[in-house]
C-alpha cells in the first residue's frame, strides 16, 4: 500500500546515498583537504610560530602592498560598475549588447595575458616604454603596474552583479523621482542606492577577495622585489620556493582565513537578501 503513495519525484534511497556519497567525497578530497592542509602546516609548530612568521618585515610589507593595491583598484572598479550598470539599465542605446560582452571580457582572459598586455604598453619595449624611461616614471615593477593588473582581473565583478539587478529593477522609480524634480545625484542616492546596496556590497566583496588574492597577472608586472613589490600571494611563492614552508603556509593561512571570511559574508548576504540578489544569479 505504501508504494502507492510514494512521491514520484523522489529519488530511490540507493540513488540518494550514491549521489550524496559521490558529491560529499569529491568536495572533501578536492576542496576541504587542501584547506585543512594549509591550516595544519601553518599551525603545526604552534600559534607563536605562526605569528612570528607573519611579523617578518617582508611579510608585513607584502600585506601592506596588497591592501594598498586593493584599496585603489576596488573603489575604481566600484565606480565603474555603478556607472556601467546605470547607463545599461536606465537608457536604450545601440551597441548595448556589445558593451556588456566587452565588460565581461577580462573574465575570460588568462591572468598572465592580463599582465602581458600592460608589459606591451608600459614595458621597456612597449608603446610608452621609452617615454616613461625618459621621464623617469615607473609603472612596471612598481605599484602602478600592480594596481593596473589588479584592476584588469577584477574589472567586471561589481558591474556584473549590478547590471542584471538594475535591469530587473527597471526605471519607473527613478523616472518618477526625476519628474518630481529630483536631481540626478539625489535620484541615485535616495532612490537607486537603497535598492541596490546589498548587491553593491556583494560585488565589492567578491572584487576585494580577488584583488587581494590575484597572482598570475600581478606576477608578470611586479618584478618580485622582496619587501618592495611583492604582494601577499607573490610572497607565498617566494617563501615556498626558498623552502621556507612555515613562512609560506603562515601567509597562505592568513589568505585562507580571508577567503573563509569572504565566503561567510557572501553566504550571509545570499541568505539574508536572497530576493534582492536573485536577479544577479539568474544571469
Amino acid at each position: 500500500m505504501s508504494k502507492q503513495f510514494k512521491n514520484p519525484t523522489e529519488d530511490p534511497l540507493w540513488l540518494k546515498l550514491l549521489l550524496g556519497a559521490v558529491a560529499l567525497g569529491f568536495i572533501a578530497i578536492l576542496l576541504l583537504l587542501p584547506l585543512a592542509l594549509v591550516f595544519k602546516e601553518a599551525f603545526a609548530d604552534g600559534v607563536t610560530t605562526f605569528i612570528n612568521a607573519i611579523k617578518e618585515p617582508d611579510t608585513l610589507s607584502a600585506v601592506k602592498l596588497s591592501l594598498i593595491a586593493a584599496a585603489i583598484a576596488v573603489p575604481l572598479n566600484t565606480v565603474f560598475g555603478i556607472a556601467a550598470a546605470w547607463c545599461i539599465a536606465k537608457y536604450d542605446f545601440r551597441g548595448k549588447t556589445i558593451l556588456v560582452t566587452l565588460i565581461d571580457l577580462p573574465f575570460s582572459v588568462s591572468p598572465v595575458v592580463a599582465g602581458l598586455i600592460y608589459v606591451l604598453v608600459f614595458g621597456a619595449q612597449g608603446w610608452f616604454g621609452p617615454w616613461l624611461v625618459e621621464h623617469n616614471i615607473h609603472i612596471l615593477f612598481a605599484l602602478p603596474g600592480i594596481v593596473l593588473a589588479t584592476i584588469f582581473v577584477t574589472f567586471p565583478f561589481v558591474a556584473r552583479v549590478l547590471i542584471p539587478l538594475m535591469v530587473d529593477l527597471g526605471r519607473d522609480e527613478e523616472e518618477a523621482a526625476a519628474t518630481l524634480g529630483a536631481t540626478g545625484l539625489q535620484t541615485f542616492l535616495r532612490v537607486t542606492l537603497p535598492n541596490i546596496k546589498w548587491g553593491l556590497m556583494y560585488g565589492i566583496l567578491l572584487c576585494n577577495a580577488r584583488a587581494l588574492g590575484e597572482f598570475g597577472a600581478v606576477s608578470v608586472v611586479s618584478g618580485h622585489i622582496r619587501g618592495v613589490t611583492n604582494t601577499m600571494p607573490l610572497h607565498v611563492q617566494l617563501l615556498y620556493d626558498n623552502y621556507d614552508y612555515a613562512g609560506a603556509f603562515a601567509v597562505a593561512a592568513l589568505l585562507a582565513m580571508l577567503a573563509l571570511l569572504t565566503l561567510a559574508l557572501k553566504s550571509l548576504l545570499e541568505w539574508r537578501y536572497a530576493d534582492e540578489l536573485a536577479a544577479s544569479h539568474r544571469h
Binding site: F26, L33, L120, V236
Partner: protein
C-alpha cells in the same frame, strides 16, 4: 488621455532620456573600458602585425610552444568534462536532497573562487607530493600526480569546479517538478525520468558551465605551477611559457602565445554568448 495631459507628456516623450546622467555614465564607462582594457588588449593584438605572419608562425610553431598549448587546452577540456559530471551530481544533491550541513556544503563550493590561486597551488602541491597526504597513498598504486601533467589536470579540476556547479544549480532549482510527475504517472521509472526528461532540460546549463570551466582552466597559472613541475614540453603550461619568454626579454615569443590564448578567449566568449541565446530560446 486629455489634451492637457498630452501637452505635458509631449516634452517628456520627445526627449530620449528622462533621467539625467546618460552622457556622464556612458562616457565614463567607455573611457574606463577603453583605456584600461581595450587599448592594452590592442597592444597585444597588434604585436603579430609588427612580427609579420612568418615571424608570428615561427614563434608559435616550435615544439615547446605547441606542446604547452596542447597541454593547457587539452587538460582544460578534460577538467571541464570531469567537473561537468561532478558539478551536475553536486548541484543535484544540493538542490534536491535535504540533509544537515547543506548550507555549509553549498558555501564551500565557492572556495576555489575565494582562495588565492597561490595558496591553492602550494596546498595541492604538498597534498599530492609523493610524501603528501594523498600522494603517499597514490604512490603505492604507482600513480604520480605531482610534477607530472596529471598535476596540471588536478589543479584545473580544483579551480573550475564552482563554474559547473553554479550554472546548473539555479536552473535545476527553477525546473518545475510537474513534468517529472507526468513522466512518473505515464509509467517511467525514476532513472528513465532523470535521463530522458530532466537531463535534456539541463543541457544548455551544463554546456555553459563546461565552457566557463574550460576558459578558466586554460588560462590558469597560479594553482598549476606549484604542482606541475613545469618540465618543458611535458608539464609546462602556456601561461608559464609566456612568463618564461618575458623573463628572457623574448617579447615577440611571449606575445605570439598571448595572441593565441586571447583568440581562444574570444572564441569561448562568443560560444558562451551563443549558448546563452540558445538556452533563452529553448526556455
Amino acid at each position: 488621455m486629455s489634451a492637457i495631459g498630452l501637452k505635458f507628456a509631449a516634452p517628456l516623450l520627445k526627449r530620449r532620456h528622462v533621467l539625467p546622467g546618460f552622457r556622464l555614465s556612458l562616457g565614463f564607462t567607455l573611457f574606463y573600458l577603453t583605456s584600461l582594457v581595450l587599448i592594452p588588449l590592442l597592444a597585444l593584438l597588434l604585436r603579430p602585425v609588427s612580427l609579420g605572419f612568418d615571424g608570428f608562425w615561427h614563434a608559435i610553431a616550435t615544439p615547446r610552444v605547441l606542446a604547452s598549448l596542447r597541454l593547457s587546452f587539452g587538460m582544460a577540456a578534460a577538467a571541464a568534462v570531469i567537473d561537468s559530471v561532478f558539478g551536475l551530481v553536486i548541484a543535484w544533491v544540493l538542490v534536491r536532497y535535504r540533509f544537515p550541513g547543506k548550507g555549509l556544503l553549498d558555501a564551500v563550493i565557492d572556495l576555489p573562487f575565494a582562495l588565492p590561486t597561490a595558496v591553492a597551488g602550494i596546498a595541492l602541491s604538498s597534498l599530492y607530493a609523493p610524501n603528501g597526504w594523498v600522494g603517499k597513498i597514490l604512490i603505492e598504486y604507482g600513480i604520480r600526480i605531482a610534477y607530472t601533467p596529471w598535476g596540471v589536470l588536478v589543479a584545473m579540476i580544483f579551480i573550475s569546479l564552482p563554474f559547473t556547479v553554479r550554472t546548473v544549480q539555479p536552473v535545476l532549482g527553477e525546473l518545475g517538478q510537474d513534468v517529472e510527475e507526468a513522466a512518473a504517472t505515464l509509467g517511467a521509472t525514476r532513472l528513465q525520468t532523470i535521463a530522458k526528461v530532466v537531463l535534456p532540460m539541463l543541457v544548455p546549463a551544463i554546456l555553459t558551465g563546461a565552457a566557463m570551466a574550460l576558459a578558466r582552466a586554460a588560462g590558469e597559472y597560479g594553482s598549476i605551477i606549484f604542482l606541475a613541475g613545469n618540465i618543458p614540453a611535458v608539464s609546462e603550461i602556456a601561461p608559464l611559457l609566456i612568463i618564461t619568454k618575458l623573463e628572457q626579454y623574448d617579447y615577440a615569443g611571449a606575445s605570439a602565445i598571448g595572441v593565441v590564448m586571447l583568440a581562444a578567449s574570444f572564441v569561448m566568449l562568443l560560444a558562451l554568448n551563443g549558448l546563452q541565446a540558445w538556452a533563452a530560446k529553448r526556455r
